[in-house]
Amino acid sequence: MKRYVFRRLLVAIPSLLIASLIVFSLPRLLPGDVVQLMLEEKAYGKDLDDLRAKLGLNRPMYIQYVEWLGQVARGDLGESLWTRRPVLEELARRLPISLELGVLALAFAIVIAVPIGVVAAIRQDTLADYAMRSMAILGLSVPGFWIATLCVLLPAIWWGWSPPIQFTAFSVSPWAHFAQFLLPAFILGIASAAAIMRLTRGTLLEVLRQDYVRTAWAKGLRERVVVLKHSLKNALIPVVTVLGIQVAQILGGTVIFESIFGLPGMGRFLFDAINQRDYPVIQGVNLLIVSVVVLMNLIVDAFYAFLDPRIRY
């Protein structure tokens, strides 16, 4: 077990390095000179060069890369080219918000998806199965930003009420802070629910065909006991692995909901940085997300190895 984890860690390092290279070069492939963007329309030759030198952008690429790696190793993600605030500081502020949104969304997704998946599995090919699956897939099919827009706009037009748009920090009011995530997390959760439902249904179907489940039926145990006590736990193992990946995916992909609901999260941060060619920010956020994902994969794999002694790398 320990050897397995160690070997997986070893494998993770080249992944991270390759990722860091991608992370570093991707933003620089973006056309458009960040310095010209910053001095938009008013720039003159000398000012451009001055600013470029000030930001350290005039040195060869590989030197910038190595320097950046060194900084990262020391825990310094650099400063935003635009605001000059440390990237790490901004991330520390925004990451919890995106995480809250993501985790809450996932919670909603699980609460919706697992029961539906269970019902769909044990009542396979019946009306209940069809109805529930249709609903879940419908939740996935309707574009999230549209639902969100309708949820925000219609109550305002009909009743003069809108969901909280101004962000409330936890320290100000824990209840209000929590409440503002409810609507966006729910809408986000609906979309993830379908994938989780599918997986739950699929794995549960598989598990229910196993011999030991047949034995349980033969013993005359009630359906609820057979399903919930004996089968579900095993069925949920692959689902858990998906969850890990889902969280990571959510981290960078919430920009639309953050915009609509006024949540200062990482998605918006990254989106703006890409548009503004703010290299250190793009690199910092990407590196963070990638590291989280690699870490998640590692944890999930270790978890798997712990549970299933047959798995060895």
């Binding site: 458009g32 329309e41 003159y44 305002a156 809108s162 748009i165 101004q166 962000f167 915009s259």
Partner: protein
């Protein structure tokens, strides 16, 4: 060399959904309401929305409106633009701010007498001391010499600034410029404190925002909100009436409008405190007695062409493009204008003191604003393109879907004249750092209209300017532009400015799209407020009050 007095970058226009098309010349401006006889009420907080978070707070390191708007509450300058409900939008009447009086001595020297007893905000490191001429001198020296100030050219004509005594400031210009005072009233020329720069290194941090304005910067929650509180020793007694200002940062327009409908903002949620005209019905049905005033916005479409190459070498081709544009349709299909707005000559129509009415243009100029595809076709045939022509057109979708709709309308109308536009789209960042500076193939479409002083609109016509995208080099025109800068008599200057616009309408070096008429909106309990162009929210709100 010359720069706009205040600037909204194209980046920011992106967020506005590229609304700007069309400015109507018809008296779209309603008469200002009768002078208020009510007594101002003290108290309350103005609540506004901004859709872009400020990058930082140093006015000498950015042109972004997202920075200038919050600064307009906390800073003052020598002169400002009048605010209040009596001001006609589009006019920029200058009145004194920190300067008690001023006079011009000769052509190039200006002497300002400062008000006495002006106190800085009582915040470290300035701690409420008195403002002196040294502060003014320091500010403008930093403005003109600091590296990377995109606003530098606003005061590019200033040669030196002196402070002969505690309350006197003397500016010496390197050449006469009749727009100098207007430039000083822009939203980039705030007076800043030396102590802040020395303590914080620059003025980017929110703690360094210490000014002499009506409100003090109280709290900054990044990407969430900015709060201001009343400056007890503001140098205009009795002002401001409101105790505080709160700006919420909310990027999504639908969410912003929803919040407006539920009464979370006191003013229209979009830039310029406006509400989209397509939303006006809903807003008025939800909010009884909503205060509104239409005004023509500054920004509009803008076409640059390579006039030193085929086919745009021939002025007839350039004219044909103008004649195959249907500005009315552009206005009618736009959600902000819903048909209301005005066409723009060289000086945006909203600057009504300086913009020439279309009817006063020479015949070829007037023709540009009449939709005449047949006439355009004939002109093209005369110029050697009897079968029409095909032209690559560069622009960016980054200005928003409203902009792309307008581009579609333009392309379709050109087709009627036999012009086939080959649309080449570039991503916003790539576009702004290249095409605007002249790196495009034959023709490019973009938005303009950030600055409130007319002189800045002549910049693209001056040879050697980076923004001279069409590559204009017309000595007669250059002379006229230089001449009006030297002409101090306003009436004579206007005549020259009108002549320039007439001339330019015949040479068609650039094309100008219309500007929308936007609907400024405010809650019924807000009094003495009048919307206007420009970023000076603070100036417009300092005399307003909340009656609730």
């Amino acid at each position: 060399m010359d720069q706009p007095a205040s600037s909204l970058t194209r980046r920011d226009l992106l967020k506005l959904g590229g609304a700007a098309l069309a400015v109507g010349a018809t008296g779209a401006v309603t008469a200002p309401p009768a002078a208020l006889a009510q007594t101002p009420k003290r108290g309350g907080t103005f609540r506004l929305r901004s859709h872009v978070a400020p990058v930082h707070f140093d006015p000498h390191q950015t042109i972004a409106f997202s920075t200038m708007i919050p600064l307009s509450f906390a800073y003052s300058r020598l002169v400002k633009v009048k605010g209040g409900s009596a001001v006609v939008p589009g006019t920029q009447p200058v009145e004194s701010d920190l300067a008690e009086s001023w006079e011009r001595q000769g052509d190039t020297v200006y002497v300002f007498k400062l008000k006495k007893g002006v106190r800085w905000h009582n915040k470290p490191p300035v701690n409420g001391r008195e403002l002196t001429a040294e502060d003014v001198k320091y500010t403008y020296e930093r403005f003109l010499t600091i590296k990377g100030n995109p606003n530098k050219t606003v005061l590019g004509m200033v040669d030196k600034v002196e402070a002969p005594d505690k309350y006197t400031v003397k500016f010496t210009l390197s050449e006469p410029n009749a727009w100098f005072i207007d430039r000083l009233a822009s939203t980039t020329t705030w007076i800043v404190a030396r102590e802040c720069v020395e303590q914080f290194g620059d003025l980017k941090k929110p703690e360094s925002v210490v000014g002499t304005g009506p409100w003090m910067f109280q709290r900054y929650e990044p990407n969430v909100r900015m709060s201001f509180t009343r400056h007890p020793s503001y140098f205009v007694p009795g002002l401001p009436h409101a105790d505080g200002v709160e700006i919420t940062l909310s990027p999504d327009p639908a969410a912003g409008f929803a919040a407006f409908l539920s009464g979370e903002y006191d003013f229209g949620p979009e830039y310029g405190m406006v509400v989209r005209r397509s939303d006006l019905d809903v807003a008025q049905s939800r909010i009884k007695d909503l205060g509104t005033r239409d005004y023509i916005v500054l920004f509009g479409g803008y076409t640059a062409m390579k006039i030193d190459q085929e086919p745009f070498k021939d002025v007839r081709v350039r004219r044909a493009f103008g004649m195959s544009d249907n500005w009315k349709e552009t206005l009618e299909t736009n959600a902000w204008s819903m048909g209301k707005g005005a066409p723009n000559p060289l000086i945006p129509a909203t600057l009504k003191d300086w913009s020439i009415p279309i009817g006063q243009l020479p015949p070829e100029g007037r023709q540009l604003y009449e939709f005449d595809p047949k006439g355009a076709k004939k002109l093209l045939a005369d110029a050697g393109y009897p079968n029409g022509l095909k032209v690559p057109v560069e622009t960016t979708p980054g200005y928003g879907p409203d902009w792309m709709d307008a581009v579609q309308v333009a392309l379709r109308n050109w087709k009627l004249a036999g012009i086939e536009g080959d649309l080449k789209l570039k991503e916003y960042g790539a576009f702004v750092s290249s095409a605007i500076f002249g790196k495009f193939d034959k023709m490019m479409l973009t938005l303009r209209g950030v600055t409130t002083d007319p002189d800045s609109y002549f910049v693209p016509y001056m040879p050697g300017e980076p923004l001279n995208s069409s590559g204009v080099n017309d000595p007669k025109l250059t002379e006229m532009i230089k001449l009006q800068r030297r002409t101090f008599d306003e009436k004579k200057r206007r005549d020259i400015v009108w002549d320039i616009q007439r001339y330019v309408s015949q040479t068609v070096y650039y094309g100008y799209g219309p500007s929308v008429s936007a609907v400024g909106a405010w809650m019924p309990y807000v009094k003495n407020f009048g919307p206007n162009i420009g970023h000076d929210y603070g100036g417009r709100l300092m005399g307003a009050w909340l009656d609730k």
